[in-house]
């Protein structure tokens, strides 16, 4: 059953003096309830734009977005968006605990105390027990991204939309966060849509990988990873199926960059 559906979604941006620039051409994608889906594409292909449209943060130029069967035009309560720029998405004047409480404190019938309690539970879930009284800027990048994840979890969403959340941290921290993300996804029955340009990350975490073309982007193909669950985000990288998928997707990405060349994107 689909919990998030994009139907013929188009996005174009006004360009100076010329016709509008088409960034996204009739993208149709259906995300199944409870799956972990990655959207993989080269830099600048509009992956984040697509995710923001799915989150109701940006209106599409054409097409519709449905969440749990309802057509949305604003951020739906079922979905929470986690930003790539964790440092900019946290409130610097609030402690870590109050940043997480931000997800629920405005809801009817939730007291400040209850919101803080909920925050502490989520902080424990992401391994940040004892850091509630710190300010975000006192933590490392990886820890700040954990705070952002805890905040998203506190909202108790059905769908988490992750915009390259692991791209700005070092490689070891990234693996750590991958493990955490898989654990959270398994425990909580979340639906996750992850936008990334990292092939290994997409394959290691996902049930399905949707490959985007460069602009105007469309979905080139959708690959079922078929990797076993539950899986370990590190060990899975040594399986033949992982290597096969990595090869296939890298190949597709690099070819699609041509004729501009396969230079660093």
């Amino acid at each position: 059953m689909a919990i998030l559906e994009l139907e013929a979604v188009e996005k174009s941006f006004p360009s100076r003096g010329g016709p509008a620039m088409l960034a996204m051409d009739r993208i149709t994608l259906s995300v199944r309830d409870g799956e972990f889906l990655s959207i993989l594409g080269p830099s600048g292909c509009g992956k984040s734009t697509l995710l923001q449209i799915a989150a109701g943060l940006m209106p599409p130029t054409a097409g519709t977005v449905r969440v749990a069967g309802r057509r949305i035009s604003a951020p739906p309560p079922e979905a929470v968006y986690v930003f790539q720029q964790y440092g900019r998405s946290l409130l610097p004047w609030r402690t870590v605990r109050d940043n997480v409480a931000f997800a629920v404190e405005h809801r009817a019938g939730v007291s400040k105390g209850q919101a803080r309690e909920a925050a502490d539970i989520q902080l424990a879930a992401v391994g940040l027990t004892g850091f509630g009284d710190h300010f975000p800027w006192q933590l490392s990048g990886g820890m700040q991204q954990r705070v952002a994840l805890a905040r998203a979890l506190a909202a108790e969403p059905k769908i988490m939309l992750l915009d390259e959340p692991f791209s700005a941290v070092d490689a070891l921290t990234r693996l750590d966060l991958h493990r955490l993300m898989l654990e959270l996804w398994e425990k909580r029955g979340l639906t996750v849509v992850l936008v990334t340009h990292d092939v290994e990350e997409a394959v290691a975490l996902s049930d399905r990988v949707a490959l985007l073309t460069k602009r105007p982007s469309t979905i080139a193909r959708i690959v079922e990873t078929g990797l076993p669950r539950p899986r370990d985000a590190v060990e899975v990288r040594e399986t033949p199926r992982f290597l096969e998928l990595r090869h296939e997707l890298l190949d597709a990405l690099l070819t699609r960059h041509a004729p501009g060349g396969a230079h660093a994107a």
Binding site: Q52, A55, G56, L57, A74, P75, P77, A79, V80, Y81, F83, Q85, R88, S89, L90, L91, P92, W93, R94, F102, A103, H106, R107, F135, W137, Q138, R151, A155
Partner: protein, 255 residues
């Protein structure tokens, strides 16, 4: 006060003391005419009398009252209008020409016409102060609110925060460093306009006394009130700096 801070202040304080001593000598030696400038020690005597007798309190509270009330009203209006203009394009298009027209005008020039409408009482003085305070706060709030990171706003939206709450709990705190910078500028203006309106209306307060003493040839008294005014300015700035540091404690990451 920490010893390092005292050490940092020391050269400036010594220089000030040296200047006062030089002034004392110059007046006593006849380099400066006594009729224009009494020796600092004589000013000090008048000053301590004013304080000891409690005579200083009436004019002081009268002026401070104008400053505080006018500052509060002007800041409130500036923050409200600046936020509205930054957030809502029709408000910006409606108010921008008016703001650009009135903003560069020295607000001291508005005191005479305001006297026509509001008389010479506190209403006029407070209105004058509030007007002077409004514009720097408004312009800074406008910039601050406009500059709030889109990511923060989207974070509020994806977590289901409505516009009003997002404004109160996300936008205003994020814009606070700008707003407070505007308020710091305005605090100085508030004191200037308060003193000027007191001078023009002749109903008491520090500004009135400075002018009145000069006209009555009570030169030592004039200087004593002037010193009091300088101390008021110093104290207001110190108070504001303290409040600002508390409100922006989270900015210490910039250290």
């Amino acid at each position: 006060m920490r010893p390092e801070k005292l050490l940092r202040l020391l050269p400036g304080l010594l220089f000030l003391a040296l200047l006062i001593a030089a002034l004392e000598w110059a007046v006593n030696a006849g380099v400066i005419r006594r009729a224009l400038m009494p020796p600092p020690s004589a000013i000090w005597d008048v000053l301590s009398d004013l304080v000891a007798s409690g005579e200083v309190l009436g004019p002081l509270t009268s002026t401070l009252r104008l400053v505080f009330i006018g500052f509060a009203i002007g800041s409130g209006i500036g923050i409200a209008l600046g936020t509205a203009m930054a957030w809502w394009a029709p408000a910006y298009r409606l108010l921008e020409p008016l703001v650009e027209m009135v903003r560069p005008l020295p607000k001291s020039a508005l005191v005479p016409p305001l006297m026509l409408f509001l008389g010479i009482g506190d209403t006029m003085k407070i209105t004058s102060v509030a007007l002077a305070v409004t514009f720097p706060v408004l312009v800074n709030t406008l910039q601050g609110v406009r500059g709030v990171d889109r990511v923060l706003l989207d974070a509020a939206r994806t977590h289901g925060w409505g516009t009003a709450r997002a404004l109160r709990y996300v936008v205003l705190p994020a814009a606070l460093p700008f707003i407070l910078a505007g308020m710091r500028t305005s605090l100085g203006l508030a004191l200037i306009i308060a003193v000027l309106s007191e001078m023009l209306t002749g109903q008491g307060g520090l500004g009135f006394l400075i002018l009145d003493m000069q006209r009555s040839f009570l030169i030592r008294q004039m200087y004593a009130w002037l010193v009091i005014l300088a101390l008021v300015g110093l104290a207001l700035n110190a108070l504001f700096a303290w409040a600002e540091a508390r409100a922006l404690h989270w900015q210490t990451r910039n250290l």
